[in-house]
Amino acid sequence: MILTAAPILLVDVAGSILMIVFSFLCIGHVMKLKRGNPTNLIWTYLLWVCTALAAFAVSRSIGHILKQALLVSGHRQAWSGIAAYSGSVNTFMLTIVAAITLFFERIWNIYGGIMKDQQALRETHDKLVYVNQNLERLVEKRTEALARSEKQMAQADRLASIGQLSAGIAHEINNPLGIILGYTQLLMRGEEKENQRYDDLKTIEKHVRNCKAIVEDLLNFARSSKTKKEMIHIPETVDEILDFIRQHSKLGDVAIDHDYDAEMPSILADEKKIKQVLINLVMNARHAVGTDGTISVMTRYDVGEDQIAITVADTGYGIEEKNLSRIFDPFFTTKSTGEGTGLGLSVSYGIIKNHGGDIDVESAPGQGSRFTIRLPAATREKKRT
């Protein structure tokens, strides 16, 4: 079978030239990659592979071109002398390319380790730079937080002690008050309504009832009163108390705004007591703003902490710093005698603590006050149970 050798010759020579060209183009690209990131081990590996491939392409292609040139020009003998050297170099280079290729996995693993270390180093460096640049501010912030926390803890301790004392006294007073009220009502039954003695007994009954209300408030503050918890939706509760206040309190030019979080979950709480707290706060705000101002009620849900926050803010005259640490103390009031017993915020504090929550205040004279209640969301309660 006689066939033309032209295609073989053509493909051999052209292919050999193309191999050299493309192998060097590959080296050119890898060199650019390497210049861009000299520490990248993968580019180094690819440079080894491409260099070995180029050396193989040169050795093989020169051999092939030389072979065809010598055979076509009739120098078969000359080729016979060169063939062994060409073939040997070719074999050697082929083995080198294959050997370098096998380093891929090891190189890739080392590269992965280096990248991980680099990432960790970069993150640490960024953190260090941030801390270094913001050290003073961070220390100041932490110190403030610590001082605030210490103050809160001291206040909580103090209120707990007062609460314990109040609870003891309230329990002791509650029983005699009950007896006095009972006997007073018994005596009233035997008296004519138009009688002076009846009026006197009525006065005793009224004051005993006032005393009992105060005792009840003290028990609330001391968290000794029982709660009847149910699922409640705070925005609805707030709406109800705001309607109540609008109807029963002369607001004049005082505006009441509200802003509710759309994602607000329900909470497990005693609705009556929560309403009592909200009425206390809104009425205090009403008293603080005077005849003209704004009261804002906002609700927020903190997904991360899984708790809700209710904020009652006013644009009133604010609280002096010396009074801030005492506002939750029982019987502490800045109102004139007869305007308040000084139990409203104490009772609110006790009720919120009894619900596993917290209440705090931010205020500055002339800038209004901002009371924030934080209560656990029902989802957290569910998790606990």
Partner: protein, 170 residues
């Protein structure tokens, strides 16, 4: 007699020093034989070594493809091109191995160069189909050149990807 005494003295000294190593070379000296330390490399060794290098190359490219696939690197266009290049190199190596096998290791086919532009292919009885197969297989550059082109394309893509991530100088 004097020489014998001296030899005994040397042997005793070596033994006394506890060095048995002195005895081993002495044994070689006592029983000399033809040296066979190096092996000749004439004949067809060169061809076998070349063929083994093709097998080694084919396996290493196959392993590279396997690693690229197991690390999901073939999802990235750059490494995918390099994987295709490696596969074509595998095919080229197998093709070159077969050509050498047919041409030089077996007597199945006989290739004669009639002149510069014609060749005669003769096959043993029953192996006539090998002739066109050999002719096509001889065009092995049709595998290795595209393989290098795919390597080139892969590197170019890796370079453009690196440029996007701000890694290259250009």
């Amino acid at each position: 007699m004097d020489r014998l005494i001296r030899h005994r003295w040397i042997a005793r000294g070596a033994w006394r020093s506890g060095s048995a190593f002195a005895v081993v070379p002495a044994a070689f000296l006592i029983c000399p034989a033809v040296a066979a330390a190096t092996q000749g490399h004439g004949g067809r060794e060169g061809l076998y070594v070349h063929q083994l290098s093709h097998v080694f190359f084919c396996i290493s490219m196959g392993i590279l493809i396997y690693w690229l696939r197991t690390r999901n690197l073939t999802r990235e266009p750059g490494w995918r091109y390099i994987g295709i290049g490696a596969m074509l190199f595998c095919l080229w190596s197998a093709d070159a191995f077969i050509v050498h096998l047919l041409e030089e290791q077996t007597a199945i086919i006989d290739v004669q160069r009639i002149d510069n532009w014609r060749i005669r292919l003769e096959a043993v009885d029953g192996w006539g189909w090998v002739r066109p197969f050999y002719y096509l297989a001889k065009l092995d550059h049709l595998f290795c050149v595209p393989a290098l082109i795919f390597f080139y394309m892969g590197l170019r893509r890796l370079m453009s990807d690196a440029a996007v991530s701000g890694e290259t100088a250009s």
